[in-house]
Amino acid sequence: MSQHASREVLIRYMDGRERTAIVREDEVPYPDGKLIVSRTDPNGIITHANQAFVDMSGYRRDELIGANHNILRHPDMPAAAFQGLWETIQNGAKWQGYVKNLCKDGRYYWVKATVIPNIRQGRLVGYTSVRRKPSRSRIREAEALYAGMMKEGRHAV
């Protein structure tokens, strides 16, 4: 069990829902060589999770399937970052960025995420998200960027 302190944080989602989550200040190292892969339907509901996703998130696969992908959103992530993601992929383009994710037990892990729309016979059927190991320098840049965005008062995630 982690020695780091934990705190309860109220997470407000953009659709008006909210939940209280435990947040711990210790990081789960990203495993070398692995990709975290998930797919969602067009509304962001998880339809596929690979084993690396299950292992890193701490959720069981049956807890992930059917859940909204924002189950992973860490309160340190500003809403504007995800707004940019959704605007990009809903326009049919690829989005790439650095994301701090929240594990079920309150710990966190950083990823470099790429999300693309899944088009079948001209129709959007969902999104694929693939996460890989980021460099420490990129994580530091993202931490500074997101902290600045949070100070601007965009607290809804």
Binding site: Y30, P31, D32, G33, K34, L35, V37, R39, N50, Q51, A52, K94, K112, T114, V115, I116, N118, R120, T128, S129, V130, R132, K133, P134, S135, R136, S137, R138
Partner: protein
Amino acid sequence: MPFNFTVSPDFGPDHVSGWFYFNTWLQRQLGVDIHLELYDGFEQQRADIRAGKVDLIYANPYDASMLVRELGFQAVARPAARRDEAVIAVPADSAASCVEDLVPGMRLATTADPDVHTIGMIMLESADLDKTNIEQREYESYVLIAKALIRGEADAGFFLKQSYDELSELIRGRLRSLVSSQIGVVHHALLVGPRLAGRAGDLADLLMTMQDDPKGGYVLESMDIRGWERMSVEQTEFMIDLIDTLVD
């Protein structure tokens, strides 16, 4: 006019004859004339694919994207229990103990094998390394990459995991693996083009029982393939989506 069959140029040199046996087996089973054309490099093969000269191809996952999305090919089968994974290796006496120990300016030995190179470059990202701050040199084979590392001509090299594992113990003993990918869903696939699409179902059915046929079993052994697994349209699309997330 015979159909044209080709194989991704990243196949192991020990298995060339196996692909000719496979072609002979296929012709007899399907009752059609098929010409097998093997290429030394990817560029000429891609040019011929785009020129409509290919009807059947054992394609690497990177090219599968172009074949399916742009040229109307469909996946029929994939080799059983064989996934494409990459290894980053260094000389055994290298000071680097993990990828993050590799530094800008390092000399990378790689091949034209697109999926191994792509996966390898992704694994270098955690060290803030990319094509702008390393020296890359392309080699013809993984054995030549191993030799370059042993001779001190390169600091790190990309290998197809299967090829790395097949290096002789003598050579592998002078190398050290820093990281091996564990992606699990990227693999080669047998694809049919529009001219042969009408036989895709027959071909898939044949391949699923190939290992049960004595001659088929021998052919599979000579290609170093255990058997084939059927590939659905959605499985193919999923792999292509995943590859799309990995390329810039």
